[in-house]
Symmetry: C2
DNA sequence: CTCCAAATCAGTAATGGTTCTTATTATGGT
DNA sequence: ACCATAATAAGAACCATTACTGATTTGGAG
């Protein structure tokens, strides 16, 4: 894998963000100072980094997927109202893959868990 | 909600299927004998039935959502290889929403859980 | 049964997120 | 400096899904 300025910028953008970002958001943040950057490049690199395990791609039913700097096993809670994505580490959750493999015969290697609700802010 | 022949056909198709079906698959099964049926109608009715709780819509990252006749709390395991979707009931999983609500401050009302792996058939 | 408003429909256009294609440019080893 | 390879920008293509349109069906009231 060759070094590329774009890939570095994209990785740093996700790493430096407190929130989870969509590809579009990464693009918008970088575009002003990198006028030739293209959205396709953002997607390609985010996918590469996710496959390689550097980042984590979180599928969001009904919306654009978001990318997370943390790749350790944790789960996500999405606010129906404002769309914010919160991380939460649910104990015993990693053991589930093993548990499911034994019981179902599937060779389970990962899972997506998304809880839906209303965040504290939006409850007011 | 008024009675409609189309809605009834769509519901029966999902109910009678052993597998989980995409909207497209429901459409393909009904189209031959219902030549004027349109895909939009299938989507609209599947959504209605899902909102109403009669069916369950399962989001499939990277593919078309599937619909399930069972709406009781259970989880899904998808084969990366053949795409088949298996149901599995994971104990204690319903309690998670309550658990998360207490800990995170979100008012959690549901969750999606999808495990990814290789089914027994495809392992050979 | 007939009339009518509301629900539903078929057909099709539009949307949005994402990937693919193509021709061009950057990278890093020799 | 040269060259094969990787990466890029730009935009077209793709796919699942929804939105829009004007026509049709439904079920209750008279």
């Amino acid at each position: 894998m060759k070094f590329s300025r774009q890939r570095e910028l994209i990785l740093q953008t996700v790493r430096q963000s407190e929130e989870h970002l969509t590809a579009e958001q990464v693009y918008e943040r970088l575009k002003p100072e990198n006028t030739t950057l293209s959205l396709g490049t953002v997607y390609r690199n985010l996918n590469l980094l996710a496959e390689q395990g550097t980042l984590c791609r979180i599928p969001v039913p009904g919306g654009a997927d978001v990318f997370d700097r943390n790749n350790d096993g944790h789960q996500h809670i999405i606010c129906r109202c404002c769309g914010s994505v919160m991380d939460w580490r649910i104990p015993k959750m990693e053991e589930l893959d093993q548990y499911l493999s034994e019981l179902t015969g599937f060779a389970v290697d990962r899972h997506d868990f998304i809880a839906w609700g209303t965040c504290k802010n939006c409850q007011n």
